[in-house]
């Protein structure tokens, strides 16, 4: 101590103290500052989670349980991820209108902000796929033909060759894909809602998902062209057969009746 005390009048003492003070402040800052920042982030997140929880308690808890653990009426939401919530609530499937073979699409009940809050809450219950960014799902510039090949390999079994949908067992069905947004198609592939299998990035990378979305939008959207005329539902031979019978043969029979009714008549004497 004596040594130190003896040198406290040293001309460099002030510099040393300054350095020590700087080191201490910097060290303290280094130690606490990131923690401070993290805390601030959590509080915004936790605010979203709290708000989401409030919405959840009103709209979802009756079936999915107060903690998202599920009940006899609805599955557990632990680990389904924000993407699942964004898809189910964003397409109007959730909250469910009534039990049935399948929960069907209807008018969307929440606005996008509320959906994000709900998603934040459900995501907090367990790790799951996040809501994709537009960079992930935007199909612009993707190879449509490659998407078609992937679509025929992975999707047509249930959704039909032009994405018109098809029947599954016991009243369940794969829905028509017309009008489905790129984000929702992406989320459906990512999370596998209801009877759909999921196609996570490990089996189907983002690029392939974009190609599939590009193909669906090319062949089955309000802007798709149908070079052959009316597409008759795009259902294949059943609707074609019905059309041939009713409008083809039906019209021809009308013609036979017309011709027979205008026959040359013998002159009446």
């Amino acid at each position: 101590m004596k040594k130190l005390s003896a040198r406290r009048r040293h001309p460099l003492a002030a510099v040393v103290v300054l350095l020590l003070a700087l080191a201490a402040t910097g060290g303290l800052y280094a130690a606490f500052a990131p923690a401070d920042k993290a805390q601030a982030d959590t509080s915004a997140q936790s605010l979203a989670i709290d708000e989401g929880k409030k919405l959840y308690d009103v709209g979802c808890a009756s079936c999915h349980g107060t903690g998202g653990q599920g009940s006899s009426e609805g599955p557990s939401l632990v680990g389904v991820g924000a993407a699942a919530v964004d898809f189910q609530v964003g397409t109007g499937r959730m909250p469910a209108q009534q039990p049935g073979p399948q929960i069907e699409k209807k008018r969307v009940q929440y606005n996008q902000k509320q959906i994000d809050l709900l998603a934040a809450y459900v995501a907090s219950l367990g790790a799951g796929p996040a809501i994709p960014t537009s960079q992930e799902y935007n199909p612009a510039g993707s190879d449509v033909a490659k998407g078609g090949e992937l679509f025929r390999t992975n999707c047509t079994q249930c959704h039909n060759f032009s994405g018109e949908g098809g029947a599954l067992t016991n009243g369940k069905f794969a829905p028509d894909l017309e009008g489905a947004s790129a984000k929702h198609i992406y989320e459906a592939m990512q999370t596998g809602p209801q009877n759909m299998p999921s196609f996570p990035d490990t089996t189907m990378p983002t690029k392939q998902k974009q190609q599939i979305i590009a193909y669906i939008h090319t062949i089955n959207s309000s802007k798709s062209s149908t070079p052959g005329g009316l597409k008759l539902g795009g259902l294949g031979p059943v609707s074609e057969g019905l059309f041939a019978w009713i409008f083809g043969l039906g019209a021809l029979i009308a013609v036979t009746v017309w011709i027979a009714a205008h026959t040359a008549k013998a002159k009446k004497s």
Binding site: D143, N170, A174, L230
Partner: protein
Amino acid sequence: MSTTTAPDREAPAGERLADWADGRLGLYALAKTNMRKIFPDHWSFMLGEVSLYSFIIIILTGVYLTLFFHPSMNEVVYHGSYVPLQGIRMSEAFNSTVNISFDVRGGLLIRQIHHWAALIFLAAMFVHMMRVFFTGAFRKPREVNWLFGFLLFVLGMFTGFTGYSLPDDLLSGTGVRFMEGAILSVPVVGTYLSMFLFGGEFPGGDFVARFYSIHILLLPGIMLGLVAAHLILVFFHKHTQFAAPGRTEKNVVGMPLLPIYMAKAGGFFFLVFGLIAIVAAIATINPIWAIGPYRPDQVSTGAQPDWYMGFSEGLIRVMPGWEINFAGHTLVLGVFIPLVIFPLVLAAIAVYPFLEAWVTGDRREHHIADRPRNAPTRTGFGAAWISWYFILLVGGGNDIWATHFHLSINNITWFVRIAFFVVPVLVFIATKRVCMGLQRRDAEKVLHGRESGVIKRLPHGEFVEVHTPLNQAERFKLTAHEQYQPLEVGEAVDENGVERKLPRGEKLRARLSKGYYGEGNQIPKPTAEEYKEITSGHGHH
């Protein structure tokens, strides 16, 4: 002839040409007998014409398509103008069909006319066949022509199926795979048959080329021959006609072939062509570009054949997946049984004329067509067969029914399984009842006239409806049909109490005959005496 009668006059060019042709082809004699050939007029007699004309349209458009179609399964990469297929590997057959659709002038329209005409051709044949059936026009002497027509329908089914398979698209490839599965299910020889047909393992590299020659040469060739034979027999037998005053079993009342009937038929051809062209211009059929090229590892839901094969699809869809394993061999009953029932469904309607002839023992010629109500058992059978066929079509489209009527596909399948056995019986009973109700109504109309809707009050206060009597021609139409007596086999034992020996099947025949003509199975038609008795009375009865 003109050379001898008028040596000083130079015959007009047309006459000389006709003379020239007559000297070599015998045209005058032909024309003399055939120009005045009579065809009776009724709208339902033109259904066969619709079939004939759509067949001609199919041949015409088919020839155009052969100019651009490549019946080959060589693999190529698509570089045509349809962007969503750019760079996709496909067979040359598929590639050329997409090119026909997008890069050949008029190709898509011709393709669609060809395909729509095929669906309409089969539908028209079906309806034509049912017209013949319900009017009893298959009776002697027309049984052979009935079979020719039936064969045309069956051949049309297979020509259609092979044509549907040619583009080698995902939908038809699934159909061909289905067919391969059915062939494989045949015990013992199934595998060999499949290997023979496809030149090895499915799909191999041969089937498009093979189906092509079957589709454009073999089957249409046979069909053309049958069509010619069918028409020659129609000429030879003359057309049936509905009963009316002046029409007998020995005459035909109607328009002469030339000029009236020819003009009508020619105009009708263009109406049929025009209508099919309109349908083809309005509505897509078989959009192979959207369906994609066939790959055995891909499949689409809603994979159905064209409508005329739909009942076979129904059979396979509703059949439980039974399977027997015996000594290391698998018998796939779930596929094999439908394969066996498939021809039986068709045969059921084809053999009916012979069954009816056997039951009734009627060996006379018939040229007057029956009104369906006057043959309740036949009409009931025909309606039951149609309902059977329709039930199988429902089974074949069970997924579309499920999605569009919000039903469970499992329930539809079970409905079809039960309805397959129950509905034809119910339809038979109901149709027979309806026919007899209509017969009663006819009898009532003949005896009492038509209800006029005029209510008259009699002096003592009673209200009666005035009936307008039918004129003689109308009464004739309603009473022209024959009434048969049921077949009697006589006593079961002879006068000595010994059991009589009946020819085999005779008892069954008698029972069936009773079902046709026995009491309660036909309504006795009004007799002249009854009519006189009622009309000689005073006003109303």
